[in-house]
Symmetry: C2
């Protein structure tokens, strides 16, 4: 029992470091940048609150678990903003390889049964093929849009993002898992992107 | 659809403020105080990772939901540290009444069906009667113990907490829902409280 708890708490203490990984997006009031720990909490709450916008075959409890775990690899790799390097850093082969090594190390702290189970959920999220993962990804993409709208631009201003880039990098993925949410949010973007028809 | 999403996003944007509620406990490395948003994420992760220490009749998915919601009332009331006011502020009738008013306001932002459902989960957590709520409370109490141990005292030093006070205010509640975890953690307290037998 004690060796198992040693491993469980080693993982939980390591996870604490996610609270020190800083994202490009600010809090909704723009007062400071968000960290990936509180971001993960907020997304899990998104899943609970927006469950009725999920497509068929989505199990919200699994979506919540994925969102709680989805950014842990950033403890080693850091956050790679969607709009950085003209949108090309996020999802690059180098970042994916570094995240896989991070997953080896971090989920490897857990007892083997639990590490295998939670890592499989993280891999399912990353692959974005199952309905649960697709919905989880939609929430991960849409939350910064709400914060940028509320704070008057945020990371869009910083990275000089056009509406076309936002639609391609963000809108398409939100619409894939949660079309009704993207329709709603897209209509609110007109004030910020006047060229949006 | 649009009015419903207005209400759902109003709640989610309000919830963002929980990231600015500062707790007495620090991060594990002592570098800064923890906020209640990232704390809620960490606790939900505790529930996933320590599920095998839950008693009979516990449904971890419900525990996770309770922990995601449990501190939202702090947006209005603030965090009331366990050891503040010689341990008498936490759980006082005045605090409970203020938290109920906060729950009225915050869960009241949601569409009625969803607000009723999530508020009921928060009330179940607060009542600490069901197996799910008792386990959730155990995790809420044990996480700061780990951080204080890691950072060399933390809020115990600040509030001059004795081992007897810690056992009464914290240990009893951890042991109620997760006895194997308290046995494990209690053994690690000897280094900090030399009078512990």
């Amino acid at each position: 029992m004690s060796a198992r708890l040693d491993a469980q708490f080693a993982f939980l203490m390591e996870a604490d470091k996610l609270k020190q990984v800083i994202r490009a997006t600010t809090l909704a009031d723009g007062s400071r940048r968000e960290n990936s720990g509180e971001h993960s909490w907020h997304l899990a709450l998104y899943a609970l609150v927006l469950a009725d916008h999920a497509g068929p075959g989505v199990t919200i409890d699994r979506v919540v678990k994925m969102l709680l775990l989805h950014d842990l690899v950033e403890i080693d790799v850091g956050d790679v903003p969607i709009h950085s390097a003209n949108g090309e850093a996020h999802g690059s082969a180098e970042v994916a390889a570094a995240e896989a090594r991070a997953a080896d190390r971090i989920f490897g702290l857990l007892p083997a049964d639990l590490g295998t189970e939670l890592r499989a959920l993280w891999e399912e999220f990353e692959a974005a093929v199952t309905p649960d993962a697709i919905f989880a990804k939609s929430l991960d993409r849409v939350q910064p849009v709400l914060h940028n709208l509320a704070s008057g631009g945020g990371s869009w201003t910083e990275y000089e993002v056009t509406f076309e880039q936002l639609e391609a990098r963000v809108g398409a993925k939100v619409a894939r898992g949660a079309p009704s949410i993207w329709t709603y949010v897209r209509a609110r973007l007109q004030a910020f992107f006047p060229d949006l028809s």
